[in-house]
Symmetry: C2
Subunit: 152 residues, 2 copies
Amino acid sequence: MPRWYFEDFTPGFVLHGQGPTVTREDIIDFATKFDPQPFHLSDEAAKGTLFGALCASGWHTASMCMRMMCDAWLLDSASLGSPGVDNLRWLKPVFVGDTLRFTLTVLEQRPSRSRPDMGSVLGKQEVHNQKGEAVLEMTSWAMFRKRAADAQ
Amino acid sequence: MPRWYFEDFTPGFVLHGQGPTVTREDIIDFATKFDPQPFHLSDEAAKGTLFGALCASGWHTASMCMRMMCDAWLLDSASLGSPGVDNLRWLKPVFVGDTLRFTLTVLEQRPSRSRPDMGSVLGKQEVHNQKGEAVLEMTSWAMFRKRAADAQ
């Protein structure tokens, strides 16, 4: 049985996790596939922009946040997926050499009305860099099975 | 000079674009890197879930939407990046063999108060599959330079 179930995500519950140090190759590889805007492909092109230097696509940062959550707890949970995200904000660029970490804080826990074996959890995710600057913030819903359902 | 500037994104303006057909390798490659939940890695693991078959990570679908926008118009625009996304919703799973297309509809156009050479645009993005089903919907802000600024 997984470690984390719907019942565990009470409001105020907090989980932390560490990410990798972001490399130039990571940034360029993701951008080449999904977001080939010049400031995600080279330092030269980024110099004249608001970013100032090569930085990760915002979708890359969000995807790295997902991976950090998977590694820290989500793969050991009764996760049923997510219907969506509210208010995703890219607060600072993620540069080559940045080391990311995340914090998840549970905001709301809502049992399903139609499915007694599951429920939804609203969580606030924050990603910080090694300087303590917030680079990404979002609130998202996720669905989990109940422990009580698996235990039957 | 790029084709699309802040001035072009008047409320009601619509742009369309086509995406690729999603392969098993695409789905597994993205999931292995960023979202290794079992239902994004194999049909077998997905069978017992709400999805029923191997499906793309929601972050993969959002990233494919970004790529479709880049290919259709964004790389030929005076884009300055995006501060964030409101209300991202994953409405249906994206399966192997699905062919995606997107529609962008401009909702709001807001000149910057502090920077007369730029402005922000609120757009609604919808991604549909080949059956016409909406798989992703979001509204997001993007910043663009003004044509008037480049023309000086």
